[in-house]
């Protein structure tokens, strides 16, 4: 058993394989136990180093270099093989994008603009004046205005789907109509348009053409009486 004071110093000296300090050397000369311990430690580190060198400097197997070269060749070939495919894939993606952009429907209207009241065409304007005159406030619902996002992203299956459908709903029937539309699946856009009341601003946009009345000619009554064709004035 080494002396406790020198134990660590002995291990460190054996580990670094350095020259011993004069103090330690003097102690080893005097202490048999420490000397034996130092020899043991030195042997242990030597065994560790030998073991490490044996494990670390293993012979490289003859198959190693040919294997590396083969894998390098494989890698180069596979990378060359991918290049035309990547070019083709890029061209295909570009073509698909072009087709998608050109085939996209252009007349898409946002959902918040779905409620277009009496502002689309002169035909609708005339209809609006007629409804105004009859005291009926109506909401115009055009089917193409309420296309769902899914419908907007797909090309129309046929031209009939773009047909403008006008729905004239009097105020007293609006609620019932909204209930009916709610019961129809996939028509939420229409329901929003029906339930929302037409704003005053939109009504103000209506312009009523002033009546064109021909120039009036005012004549005194006496003159009218003298114009009686039966000749009574002459008689008086």
């Amino acid at each position: 058993m080494p002396c406790e004071n020198y134990r660590e110093a002995l291990i460190e000296a054996a580990a670094v394989d350095a020259r011993l300090s004069p103090e330690l050397r003097a102690h080893l000369d005097a202490c048999t136990s420490c000397r034996a311990s130092f020899v043991e430690e030195t042997q242990l580190f030597a065994a560790i180093d030998t073991g490490l060198r044996t494990a670390a400097n293993a012979e490289v197997p003859p198959s190693f270099f040919p294997g590396v070269r083969a894998s390098l060749l494989d890698d180069s070939a596979s990378r060359r093989g991918w290049r035309p495919f990547l070019i083709f894939a890029a061209a295909a993606v570009a073509m698909a994008l072009t087709v998608l952009i050109t085939a996209r429907p252009r007349h898409t209207i946002k959902d918040n603009q779905a409620k277009q009241i009496f502002s689309a065409s002169p035909r609708e304007k005339t209809e609006a004046s007629a409804r105004e005159a009859s005291g009926t406030r109506a909401i115009l619902a055009s089917s193409h205005s309420y296309r769902t996002p899914h419908e907007r992203n797909t090309a129309p299956a046929n031209s009939a789907s773009l047909h403008v459908m006008d729905v004239l709903v009097p105020p007293e029937e609006r609620e019932a109509f909204a209930r009916f539309i709610t019961s129809q699946p996939g028509r939420s856009g229409v329901v929003i348009a029906v339930v929302a009341a037409a704003t005053e601003n939109q009504d103000n946009r209506l312009s009523v053409e002033p009546l064109e009345i021909a120039e009036l000619e005012v004549k005194p009554l006496e003159a009218l009486a003298s114009e009686v064709p039966d000749g009574t004035e002459e008689e008086q």
């Binding site: 291990i11 460190e12 054996a14 580990a15 670094v16 043991e40 430690e41 242990l44 580190f45 065994a47 560790i48 180093d49 073991g51 490490l52 060198r53 044996t54 494990a55 670390a56 400097n57 293993a58 490289v60 197997p61 198959s63 190693f64 270099f65 294997g67 590396v68 894998s71 390098l72 890698d75």
Partner: protein, 194 residues
């Protein structure tokens, strides 16, 4: 008016030839590095994995990666340092994944993970303890220890390969050897008593 430039086919062929020549030069240069550093990559992997086939696989993978990035690793010292790190990292990853697999297989089959008789016969008892003790070292200590043992690298060479100061390498080496000694001391005494 636009200028129309016609490239004669001879010039295109020349360009292609120059490209091929550059590729060939690159391959030759890599071959040189392979001969010089290939064994180092293999030995690092072998030192971690202690299995020839696995070490070969890992070293091949490391060299393949080095080849892919060879344009940026043409400097001799840089190539060596990069290869050392990547080989060690790949080997450590392989050990960890095989340990996970072993744990999974043990859970399924409930077999003991004791070394086989062949393993015991192939390595001496001390070497087996040393291998186990090495596995328990932190990665940074283990790499320094391995590089110091491989091909008799000096402290300066190890420091250059790991881009570390010599003092750091020295202290890591010291602590690594001390830890190994602590783990192996009792086993050595047991072996000696028999």
């Amino acid at each position: 008016m636009q200028e129309l430039v016609l490239i004669p086919p001879v010039r295109a062929a020349e360009k292609e030839f120059a490209q091929e020549a550059a590729q060939a030069a690159l391959r030759r240069e890599f071959e040189e590095r392979l001969a010089e550093c290939g064994p180092l990559a293999y030995r690092i992997a072998r030192g971690v994995l202690r299995n020839n086939a696995d070490a070969e696989d890992v070293a091949q993978e490391a060299l393949l990666r080095a080849y892919r990035r060879f344009e940026g690793l043409r400097d001799r010292g840089r190539f060596r340092a990069w290869l050392v790190r990547i080989a060690f990292r790949l080997a450590i990853d392989r050990v960890r994944s095989s340990k996970r697999r072993q744990v999974r297989e043990t859970l399924w089959s409930e077999t003991s993970s004791r070394p086989s008789t062949e393993d015991l016969a192939a390595t001496s008892e001390f070497q087996a303890y040393l291998d186990r003790a090495m596995d328990e070292l932190p990665d940074k200590h283990r790499l320094v220890l391995l590089l110091g043992a491989i091909e008799g690298h000096s402290l300066e060479e190890v420091a250059e390969m790991l881009s570390l100061p010599v003092g750091t390498v020295k202290s890591r080496l010291f602590f690594a050897r001390k830890q190994l000694a602590e783990k192996l001391r009792c086993h050595v005494k047991t072996i000696e008593k028999r």
